[in-house]
Amino acid sequence: MSLQLDTFGPLWLEWAVGLLLLSLWGFSILSTRAQALPTRIAVSLLRLVILGFTYLLLHQPTLIRTIRKSPERNIAVLIDRSGSMGAPEKGATRFEKAETVLQQIQDQEPKLSLYEFDQELYGPLPKISGANELTGKRTDFYQSLTQVLNKSQNISGIVVVSDGHDLGRFTAMDLDETRNWLKRLDAPPIHGVLIGNKSEGPEIAIHSIDAPSFSYVRAPLTIRATVMVRNLPEYPRQIQLLEGQNIIQVKDLNVDAQGFGNVQFEFYPETIGEHLYTVVVPPHRTESNTANNRQNILIDIGRDKISVLHIAGSITWDLQGLRSMFELNNLVDLTAFFIMRTRDHMQIGTDARSIGPDEMALVPFPTEEIFDRQLYGFDVIVFQDFDAGNYFNDSYQMRRLLSKIKSFIQEHHGALIVIGGPQSAAGPSLGVTPLADVMALVPPSYRVPYASELEKAVVTQKGKYNPILQGFEPDLHRFQGHMDRLTPNPKSEILLQTAQKAALLATLESGTGRTVFLNTSSSWKWYRDELEKGLTGSAYQAFWDHLIKWSIQDPSMNQVHLTAFKSLERPLDLDVEVLLRQKDYQPAKNVSTPLLLSSIQDPDQVYTANVQTNQQGQAQIKFHVAQPGYYRLSLPDSPWQELAEPQIVFLGGSQDEFGNQDPVPETLSRLANLTGGKLHESQDLDVKNWAWRNQSREEIIESNRLKLRNWVWGLPILLLLAAVEWYLRRTRYLA
């Protein structure tokens, strides 16, 4: 119990009041000098008490009574339930071992809060979940510890039972950052219990890979790999990134003092779909475990928009029709360049009378910028009524840049659409350039005749089944004008031709890319003809939509679709949807075909099933696999095999967890060292002797405050004292 006093004014006032009271008391002693000494002493004492009590009340006296008690020990046990805890470890999984460790801790510390964690925290839980409920998510110490310390304020200690294979922010933080983070959280001692066997020998391994699960085609994709080196003064310095057997990039490795090094790969994926990349560090000759020297990462490459480069050699109604359609299509990211004035117009036109460039809205054709630096960012290049003259400085530049476009098509899955017109017929022919090798129809010489007749197109046998011509009607979609005497490329397929067999529409698959030659500048009129007939004009748009999607190899134009669906709740299950279409894109009804799901790492893991399509050509089936890993889904031994792109899927939760499952004691050790805890092996646990916070400290759990001014007995006592003093004065004739 303690007494608290407050001041009632400035110091001089306190002194003045005190002195005044003392003077009064001295005067009262003096005034009773004629009395007997006992009476005098009694009265003075009473007066002293009354004055002192008054002076005390002026200071607002408060009585404080506190109750102290030793706090109850509150220990949080965090059990790692990430994907790597499902790894087998001498007859049992790591998670099952963690259950045993928990039992040992509970035997000695019965009162504890139980949590589980992977990339987030679960709990407090009444009991540990089963090993078969692991969802395969990744480990994140940073998130989990932050959450547990924010949830409960009075934690005396934390026990982390884990294999230490952290893939969150914690591993990326340096020592100072980690210390500050723990200080900010006011972390109690953290004891780590390592599950799994520590590797002591020389080791170089891919510790983790940081990459997005989804990226866009022809957009930069960054993959970061963290490499761990243990007990190796000299180690391999080059890290490779592979896709299948193809080396994509090689980077140099530098390892810091703690044995970790980072490398970053950046490249531009060229095709859409699931891509399985592998990061490989060459094994050292003294290494015993080389399984962790490579790690896979599966990334889904999709398409945000179709990036179209539209270049027109002359300004025509056909250009307007195509431009108008591109402007209205939200899926098209359009970069256009139209030649609005040629060198001839500058030399012999009125512009020669010096209309300054500042009065015009023209920009020089950025030949190098478009064809050299930005070329690989496009999905498809459209040359509309374009010839090989006027746009290049010299023939060397023309050959160099057009060769680059050829390489873009043949080696980088590029697409090219050439629209023939009067300008391309009259100007220097693209047929004499390197592009001739990749064009479906090749103009034979410097100039070719341009026939202007209205033609009804004849759909060839190959055209009947081509998806580009789905919805094309020869009676409605007439061709007015075409380049004559074009030579089809030997590998091209002619889809439309005139009655005289002049090619009007031809396609070519050249290398990894595709090209189309549309031999007319009149397709814009199809739209108006449709409107005139009372139709919506959608067939014209559909024709161009099909044309572009076919040329960029969009999966929607494939006859066969395999779609795989995964579930977070059931990480080892795979739902598959199959869509089969005939050559004419009609649904393949009631077709039976085998479906194969095979492990990429383990050839013994093979699952087969037979599916039968319904009236829409669709079929569904479910697979359940025993082990997590990368699987390839395909249609083997069937006529559909060549048409179906095999799908690669990862089953089992987080890929990162699956990549490297070696225990990492360093992470647990760092946590323990910075908080006053210790790292323990699962075999020797002596929980009674572990350090906890505030073991000897008492905490105030209750506090009572009593203001004497409000004390119910205060006034009666004061009145009683005054009454006694009055009585003495009256009986002793003092007043």
């Binding site: 300004i315 109604w317 402007e327 004035r341 809205a361 739209y527």
Partner: protein
């Protein structure tokens, strides 16, 4: 080949040639819409304009403009229609409005050019009435802002010009980001018109040669806008154009 077959072939050859010539051309060509009592007053202006476009622009264009009635608008290969006049336009039927609507929806463009006196707005009011029938959803014409593509589709222009000086702006009927029809109050074609010897047919109300040149530039910009739409609003151009306008 038998003699009879040869004769047949020789007889059919000119007929085939004739048929080929009657095919509507898909090259760019101006088309005067035969609407109103004075629709062909400024017809020769388009001859001069075609000649200037041939010299200045990379637009394959027919030398001569053509004309058509409103019932023929869908037969025209090049749907750039011009309605010129000073007198009020006759009321069009619903069918004719549908035809014109289809032609403009399919990429065409309509230009009203008024050469009426300053206080005479009968042509303007009749044009609005006609467009209300063609595009009832668009309402009355709106003033075309100075940052519209029409003022930067080829030449950089600050305002609309013409032979007269009634307004310094164009009006238009716009849907989305595309203007389907324009109205010029300033007798644009009057500034371009020449006689057969090449002499200017009409004096400019204000100014002379350079003002007439600005009229040609506006007409060329209208042509480019029709064919390239909002190309000059693509991301590569606005910074360059802004910089040039500030100079």
């Amino acid at each position: 080949m038998k003699r009879r077959d040869l004769m047949k072939w020789l007889l059919t050859l000119p007929a085939a040639q004739l048929l080929a010539e009657t095919d509507p051309t898909l090259q760019f060509q101006f088309c005067m819409l035969a609407l109103g009592p004075d629709w062909n007053t400024r017809e020769r202006a388009l001859v001069k304009l075609c000649f200037e476009i041939q010299k200045r622009c990379n637009i394959p264009i027919e030398n001569q403009a053509r004309s058509c009635t409103i019932n023929q608008v869908l037969d025209v290969g090049s749907p750039f229609f011009i309605v010129s006049g000073a007198q009020p336009l006759p009321e069009i039927t619903t069918h004719q409005a549908d035809l014109l609507r289809t032609a403009l929806n399919a990429g065409g463009l309509l230009l009203f050019d008024c050469f009426a006196d300053a206080n005479d707005d009968r042509f303007y009011r009749s044009a609005i009435k006609m467009m209300q029938k063609v595009f009832p959803e668009l309402g009355p014409p709106q003033k075309i802002p100075n940052d519209h593509t029409i003022f930067q589709s080829y030449y950089l222009l600050k305002e609309a010009r013409g032979r007269t000086n009634r307004t310094n702006y164009l009006e238009g009927w716009t849907r989305g980001n595309r203007t389907l029809a324009f109205f010029s109050h300033n007798d644009l074609l009057g500034a371009l018109e020449t006689d057969s010897l090449g002499n200017w047919s009409n004096n400019m109300e204000i100014g002379g040669g350079f003002r007439r040149e600005l009229c040609f530039r506006l007409a060329i910009n209208l042509t480019y806008y029709t064919l390239t739409l909002n190309y000059k609003k693509d991301r590569a151009f606005p910074p360059v154009i802004e910089r040039r306008r500030r100079q």
